[in-house]
């Protein structure tokens, strides 16, 4: 399966903790120079997979090749060319923005003069040029994320791991991060992105896998996945007696799903449903194209994961 131009190759990966299987045989290959998504509900094994890839968790079984380095044996050498944006910020609160970059670069054995030369560019990229001497504590959540991203680039990595990079950010901050990540892909970097924001995955990822209960349940391009797994149109219906109403009109669409007080009609052609809706004035409805979230829900179910 390993090909020359893949940044990350995993096969037969298994990991269990105390007899409970967290990863039960994962295999995939992330091609170099694109954004590769790892999607899944909470507890699906995303973070454990990332930890295995970085050599932070020894797998019970399986092979991992990161930039051609065998993990975990050769993890230190592989990490020299890898950047990581962790799920929660672990910037150094005792230092300024600039010091955070300088000190982090030392862990890679980079020369101070080299880092100093790169800092203005990194700060520009992160939109933090005017924050160079600010203490980390004074930064907003979005700024901290951007500094974490800049820090992950301090060694000019080929492969960047991002573990839910926009969780907890407001839309403005999120869009800025997305824009920067697209720029990085345009620069030829490989991004390995875990997320449970389907919009994020749809916008950024050229290929992705969906994990659930430690297994790969789907793999492909987001648009292909939508086309192959789900009907193209969705009509959501809610309001008084929406569920009852929907059940009675089950035959008007290919697939009907009920979640709480909302009914989801998945159809190729929405005309019959819309006609029926026109007659039922009290119901509220929303017509939209099917998206990755619909695929995700179909594959991983609607029940809560904590």
């Amino acid at each position: 399966m390993a090909s020359l131009n893949s940044a990350l190759d995993i096969s037969g990966l298994r990991k269990s903790y105390g007899g409970k299987s967290v990863i039960s045989g994962i295999g995939f290959s992330a091609p170099a120079g694109m954004c590769f998504g790892i999607l899944g509900p909470n507890g699906a094994g995303k973070t454990t997979t990332l930890r295995c890839c970085l050599g932070l968790t020894p797998p019970d079984e399986g092979k991992i090749l990161l930039r051609g380095h065998s993990i975990p044996d050769d993890a230190c050498a592989a990490r020299a060319h890898v950047g990581v944006v962790p799920q929660s910020d672990n910037l150094d609160p005792d230092f300024t923005v600039r010091e955070n970059l300088l000190i982090y670069a030392r862990y890679f054995g980079l020369k101070k003069t080299e880092t100093q030369r790169r800092i203005p560019g990194l700060l520009d990229f992160a939109g933090l040029a005017d924050k160079e001497t600010a203490r980390v504590e004074t930064l907003s959540g979005g700024m901290k994320r951007r500094l974490t991203l800049a820090r992950a680039l301090v060694n000019d990595p080929d492969v960047l791991f991002l573990d839910e990079p926009t969780t907890g950010l407001d839309p403005q901050a999120r869009h800025l991060i997305w824009d920067r990540l697209k720029q990085l892909v345009a620069q030829g970097k490989t991004l390995i992105l875990t997320t449970h924001f389907m919009e994020e995955a749809e916008r950024l990822c050229e290929r992705l896998i969906v994990l659930d209960h430690g297994r790969v349940v789907a793999e492909g391009n987001p648009h292909e996945l939508i086309a192959s797994h789900i009907e193209p149109n969705v009509v959501e219906i809610f309001g008084e007696n929406a569920v009852q109403w929907a059940h009675a009109r089950r035959a008007l669409c290919r697939r009907l799903e009920i979640a709480g007080e909302t009914a989801y009609f998945y159809c190729d052609d929405t005309a019959p449903i819309r006609e029926a809706l026109d007659k039922a004035r009290v119901l509220h409805s929303l017509h939209r194209a099917a998206n990755l979230e619909d695929v995700f829900i179909k594959l991983t179910g609607r029940e809560l994961r904590d």
């Binding site: 970085l54 020299a80 862990y107």
Partner: protein
């Protein structure tokens, strides 16, 4: 802008130019440097208050202790105890903050450095804190004529040795701690009793034999038996034994700390 950011050539530094622990040590040193003055004063204040309080207070009532003035006796104890405290606080509270609260170690673990490098950096840094703390007391007491130079300068490497031993033990406790509260057990069950029976405040020989034997297996008593004679301008007896004991404790405890920290963080 992007061109500059990702401008080649590749940075050269991915070879190991320096030992892996050094950047970790440097990080801690840089943080300390920002608050060096209050930190130094804090290091000095506590032992000096004990020295003045107990030294003058008790010293007036006591005849000579082990053949010397009580103040002279106590000074050596205070230097060793401050070295112990400095390394212990660093390896417990500060290292735990970096491991557990600030997640500084997590950030370092995704660089080419390994957990061994991080722990070694913490070990060296905590020992450096012992050195800084002991050295500043040594300066003060030399200024008031309570040390015998130049022989007392041999205390400086012993401060490091003492620091290494207590840092290594402290890192074990850090690896096992569920929260900061846990450290209280270590202080009340280990550090404080050790302080009482290791010949810091009074000669250990006067203790019941069983307790004296226990004390002879504690790192603090070995450290003080090295420092006290040097402070008086004499060569310590059994130098090799004491040094070997402190080194042995350091190596054994550090290996245990590495094992336990791996189990905690990288499983």
């Amino acid at each position: 802008m992007i061109a500059r950011l990702f401008g080649k050539p590749k940075p050269p530094g991915l070879r190991r130019l320096s030992p892996g622990w050094l950047p970790v040590w440097q990080r801690n040193f840089l943080v300390w440097r920002k608050l060096a003055l209050p930190s130094l004063l804090g290091n000095l204040a506590d032992p000096l208050i004990y020295m003045l309080g107990l030294g003058y207070g008790l010293g007036r009532m006591l005849p000579q202790v082990s053949g010397i003035d009580y103040m002279q006796f106590l000074v050596a104890g205070m230097i060793v105890a401050s070295a112990m405290n400095a390394a212990t606080f660093e390896a417990l509270y500060s290292a735990f903050s970096r491991m557990h609260t600030q997640k500084t170690w997590d950030a370092i673990l995704v660089t080419p450095l390994s957990l061994d490098d991080i722990l070694a950096g913490e070990l060296f840094w905590a020992a450096s804190k012992s050195f800084i703390s002991g050295f500043s007391i040594l300066l003060v007491i030399s200024a008031i004529g309570l040390s015998s130079l130049p022989l007392a300068l041999w205390i400086l490497p012993i401060l490091f040795l003492t620091g290494f031993a207590f840092a290594a033990i402290g890192l074990i406790v850090c690896a096992l701690a569920p929260s900061y509260d846990f450290f209280m057990y270590y202080f009340t069950l280990f550090i404080t009793p050790m302080l009482m029976i290791s010949g810091i405040f009074f000669p250990a020989e006067h203790l019941p034999r069983a307790i004296y034997l226990v004390a002879s297996w504690l790192p603090l008593s070995h450290a003080v038996q090295l420092v006290r004679p040097l402070l008086l301008g004499e060569f310590p007896k059994d130098i090799v034994l004491h040094v070997a004991f402190l080194l042995g404790i350091t190596v054994a405890a550090f290996r245990a700390a590495v094992f336990l920290t791996y189990r905690r963080l990288l499983n």
